[in-house]
Structures are given as structure tokens and as C-alpha cells.
Amino acid sequence: MIEVHDVRKQFGDVHALGGVSFSARDGQITALLGPNGAGKTTLLRTLVGLLKRDHGTIAIDGVDPERDPLSVRRNIGFLTDQFGLYERLSTREYLSYFGELNGMGGAALKSRIDEVSDLLSMDDILERRTKGFSQGQRIKVALARTLLHRPRNLLLDEPSRGLDVMSTRALRRALSSLREDGCCVIMATHVMQEVTHLCDDVIVIAKGHTVAQGTPNDLCRRTGIQNLEDAFVSLVGEEGIAA
């Protein structure tokens, strides 16, 4: 459960976040929609406690990431817009490293790696060094790292970019099973089809403000537009897109 209330963040004269409020419930996949530069990356970094907010409150399962960033991060799987692979390590070594950083170890870690590998069907690349991996393979490895420590909350920045149809389906299955397990998933994306197929809730932000929150159908109803993409554009407004 992630609750954000009126979070603001300013860098010098730039208002990166001017007042973001939403709540993402457990057992739901929440889409985070917003044009480039809307403040998504800043928001996600603030959620994991890398940046300090100027104003407002954040509670992740009731814990403030500013107060106790370590226990918040233990319960968060964070997939950034960069995968952060180490080319000289094999997939298994890479996953072991992040598992140990999250306090796992020994046989439990080993079997968990196999489990995640099964889930994302990446057995073929488990023992290979990550150098020369395709985009799809890279994102699978990064996603495996995100899921490894069984976080209750997932922050995913465009998880499906560069994936082929098969991998996209594997990703959707993985996300659905996480939802059934009662995880809270926030997924920043630009693919409207994915939102309609997968997401229970949608948050729209533009220029550092929350513009709307609701189910995809809610948003369409509110704007009176059938198509989600058109509804999104109308919510953000032309100027939001230009920014």
C-alpha cells in the first residue's frame, strides 16, 4: 500500500513536483501515466527515499521512506529506466549480488533465483554473462532482480519496453500473479493498450501535479471519451504534452 499526499519537490527554480497525491492499493496494478518530463522519475526516486521531499507525506505500508529508507527499500522492487546490469557477471551472479544486498543468502537465495527464473522463463540465460544480451533479455534480468526479494511493493518504470510479444505475455502473467499475491504494483508506462489490459487503477500526472486517478473506465467516463489514449491527452492538455 503506497499513500502519497501533496508531495512537492523543487530543484532551484524548477518545480519538479508541485503537489502529487494518490494511493495505490495492495492487490492492484496501478498505472502511472504522464508525458515525458511530468516528474515520474523524481516521484519514484522520492518514493524509495533517494530524494527528500520539500512538502507532503509518503507512507509505504505505513512507513515514511525519509525516516527509514532501508526498511522501505527492503519492501520495494524498483525497476529504473536503466537496467543497471554488470557485463562481467553472469545472470545468476548478478541476482545473487542483489539478493545478498537485500539480506538473503544460502540455499534460500539459490532456490529463489531458480523460482524467479522459471517465472520469467529465462533459464537459458541464467548462467551466461550479461554482456551482449538483447533488450528483452536485459529487461528480464532486471525484472528478476526487482522481484527477487519478494517485495510487497513494486515500482516499475516502463517494464515492457523492448519486449517481444512472448516476453510481454510472460511479463503480464508475472504481474498478474503478483497482483493475486496481494502486491502493490505501480507501473509507469506509455502503452495504453497495456493499461486497459492490465491495470486496475490509473494515476495521471502532468507538470508535477496529479491530474486524475481512477479506473480506465472512470477516466473515459469522466472525459466523455471512449478511447483511453484520447482521454489521457484531454486530461493532460496540450500544454502538458509540450512540456
Binding site: L50, R74, Q82, F83, G84, Y97, E100
Partner: protein, 394 residues
């Protein structure tokens, strides 16, 4: 459960050691230096002791014309090799072989001019680039003494005292020894022995900070449940381990090489036993860690591998500074030198190799002079990594 900084350290170490080319270069550099040092020293020793061992060889053309001169040359332990008439290129070729110190050519009219008491020409051909000037001077001394003798005899025959020809008498005293001549050079080379501390961990330090940032994996790492100091410490210990391994390996190798050379011939000594060299290695530990900490603290602020590398190559010159200043100002060894990192290690090694009993204080000072700044630098780097400005640019 492994501490997180250890997890990070081991992973970085594994990654670095997989880069075969970098590791190979480091090993090569570390091993090459003591070996080169040894070869150079061997040459110095050879050169300094050559004349004593081998004597001086001189080729003479027309030796039969001046038997007395030849006898005097032989008295001075100069081996005369009689040679047939040679032309200029042949003489050059002979000199280039380096066997003879010079070629002495008595002119065709030598006997005639000598008998007529006209200056009889003797040519001395030599190669000034061959670094046999000392030996050449010995030959010239013999020639001069021979000339002076003949002149005295002739003056005496005319009833003039030979003393008239010598209004002053120059007596030369050379206090320079081979040791004092080469001491400066060797001192410099001993100081260089500590460079692996700064060299060996550098590329790993850069790769794990600026490189990680450039590849955009730093953000992922920082979003893990690890504190900033744990990340910094892990990377610092990794670079420090490499620096320490390089330094220790090189010092031990140097110890073997130097113990093997006949340094006494130069009036020098390497009077270190294995306990001494172990102590030197132990006080080298904080130096290696300091170097690694500095490199991490600087490289983490650079945005790319290249940027960090150029910053650090400037910093690489810094540890040379105290040594150069001290040798330029010709300062005598004193206690404060043990409080300056790098300089302290150099001074300590120099003193101990001379066989000076320094006591415990210099060791303690050397250790602390590097250890305390190291902790400060690591603390600074951790503080820096936590700062928002750093997170933003990651």
C-alpha cells in the same frame, strides 16, 4: 549473513579480476619495476667496478716507436694491445666495440721528431659517449707524466732544474665515492617503490564509481537497502585490496632482488631482514587504503570513466611531491617527515635500508599519518554519496 559492504567489495573484486587485460597490465607493471630496478643497479655496480676488475685496455698503433711509454702504461695496469696501422673508420669501428678505452696512434715521424727534440705527435682517439672518461683520464695521466719526465731529463741535461717548469703543484683529493654518487639515484628509485599503492587500485576505483555511474547502474545500487557508507566502504576496500596486493608483491620482490645484488660494491646496503620488510609492508597498508579512499572520493564525482581518469592522473602526481621537495631542498631526515603520508614510507624505507635503528615511533607515525586521513576521506565520500546533488546527477 555477510555484511553488505563485504558483499559489495567481493562483487567488485570479482568483476575487476575478470577484466583480464587490466589485471595483466597491473601485474606486469608491479613485477617489471623491481626487475628493472635490479637490472639498472647491476649495471651501475658493473660500471663502477669494471676498471678495478678488468684493468684498462688500450690499442696502440706504432707501439715499437716508444718502448718506455709502453712500459709506463703497463706499470699503471693498462693493457697495451699493439695494432697494425688503421684508418679513421677502422679506428671508429674498433672504439665502437667498446673493448678498448681508446686508440693511441704514434705519428710516423715520432722517432725522428723525438730525437730532434721537436714535439712528437701522439694521437689519442676515444669515444666520449662510451662513458669511460675515468679510464681515459688514467691514460692521459700516464701520457702527461711521461712527457713531464722527458722534459725534466732534457732540462737537467741543460743544467736547468726541472722545478722551474712547475711553479705550482696541484694535488688532487677526490672525496666522492661511488656510493655518494649513486645515492641520489638510488634514493629516488627506492621512493618509486611505493607507487603501486596509487597505481594498482586506480582503474578499479574509477570503474566502480564513475564507470558504474556512466553505465547507470549506480542508481539501482543506491536504491537497494544499503547505506551510503556501506556502498562507499565496499568499493573502497576493493580498490584498497588491489593497491595493497600490488604494493606488497612489489616490495617483497624488490627485497629479493636487492638482497641478491652486491650493493656493498657501491658502498650501499640493503640491510633489511624479512621482519623489517614485513613491518614496511604493514605500514604500507594504510597508504594503500588512503590512496584507494582518495581515488574513490574523487572518481565518484566524475560523470564518466574518462573524466575520472583524467582527474586522477593529475592526482597521481601528488604523492611524488613531498619526496621531490625534500630531495630538492636537501632536508635532513627528521621526525616530521614520518607524519606526511607517502614521504613517511619513503623515509622509513631509506633509513631502515641503511641499517639505522629507528625505533617504534616512526613506524607508528607512518601508520597513523595515512590511517587517520583515510577514515576522514571515507567519511567524506559517504557523506557526499548521501547528498541530494549526487543522487540527482546519478
Amino acid at each position: 549473513m555477510k555484511p553488505r559492504f563485504l558483499t559489495i567489495c567481493l562483487k567488485e573484486l570479482r568483476e575487476t579480476l575478470r577484466e583480464k587485460r587490466t589485471v595483466g597490465l597491473l601485474v606486469l607493471f608491479t613485477v617489471m619495476y623491481p626487475v628493472m630496478f635490479g637490472v639498472l643497479m647491476q649495471q651501475l655496480i658493473d660500471r663502477a667496478t669494471r676498471s678495478e676488475r678488468e684493468g684498462i685496455e688500450l690499442a696502440v698503433i706504432g707501439a715499437g716507436k716508444a718502448p718506455t711509454l709502453m712500459a709506463q702504461l703497463k706499470q699503471k695496469n693498462i693493457t697495451v694491445r699493439e695494432s697494425a696501422a688503421l684508418d679513421e673508420p677502422a679506428i671508429e669501428a674498433l672504439l665502437q666495440k667498446g673493448k678498448v678505452v681508446g686508440v693511441l696512434r704514434l705519428s710516423d715521424k715520432f722517432t725522428e721528431n723525438y730525437a730532434a727534440m721537436r714535439p712528437a705527435r701522439v694521437e689519442l682517439w676515444y669515444d666520449s659517449a662510451a662513458e669511460k672518461n675515468g679510464q681515459r683520464r688514467e691514460v692521459e695521466d700516464v701520457l702527461e707524466a711521461y712527457g713531464a719526465n722527458v722534459a725534466s731529463a732534457r732540462l737537467l741535461a741543460h743544467g736547468v732544474s726541472p722545478a722551474t717548469l712547475a711553479p705550482i703543484q696541484v694535488q688532487r683529493y677526490d672525496t666522492g665515492t661511488n656510493a655518494s654518487r649513486s645515492a641520489g639515484l638510488i634514493g629516488g628509485m627506492l621512493s618509486m617503490l611505493f607507487f603501486p599503492a596509487f597505481f594498482c587500485g586506480m582503474s578499479a576505483a574509477v570503474d566502480s564509481t564513475a564507470g558504474e555511474r556512466e553505465r547507470r547502474s549506480m542508481e539501482v545500487l543506491m536504491a537497494q537497502p544499503a547505506r551510503a557508507w556501506e556502498i562507499v566502504t565496499g568499493k573502497w576496500l576493493m580498490a584498497g585490496t588491489l593497491a595493497l596486493a600490488g604494493l606488497t608483491l612489489e616490495l617483497l620482490l624488490a627485497h629479493v632482488v636487492l638482497g641478491w645484488l652486491p650493493l656493498e660494491e657501491l658502498g650501499m646496503s640493503w640491510s633489511l631482514n624479512w621482519l623489517d620488510i614485513t613491518l614496511i609492508c604493514v605500514v604500507g597498508l594504510p597508504l594503500a587504503l588512503l590512496a584507494a579512499a582518495l581515488q574513490i572520493a574523487l572518481a565518484m564525482n566524475a560523470k564518466s570513466f574518462k573524466e575520472a581518469q583524467s582527474t586522477l592522473s593529475v592526482v597521481l602526481l601528488l604523492p611524488m611531491l613531498p619526496g621531490v621537495v625534500v630531495s630538492m631542498m636537501e632536508l635532513k631526515t627528521s621526525l616530521w617527515m614520518y607524519a606526511v603520508p607517502m614521504l613517511s614510507n619513503q623515509t622509513l624505507l631509506r633509513e631502515v635500508s641503511k641499517g639505522v635503528e629507528v625505533g617504534a615511533l616512526p613506524y607508528v607515525l607512518t601508520f597513523l599519518s595515512a590511517a587517520l586521513p583515510t577514515l576522514a576521506v571515507v567519511a567524506f565520500a559517504s557523506w557526499r554519496m548521501k547528498s541530494e546533488r549526487y543522487v540527482l546527477a546519478v
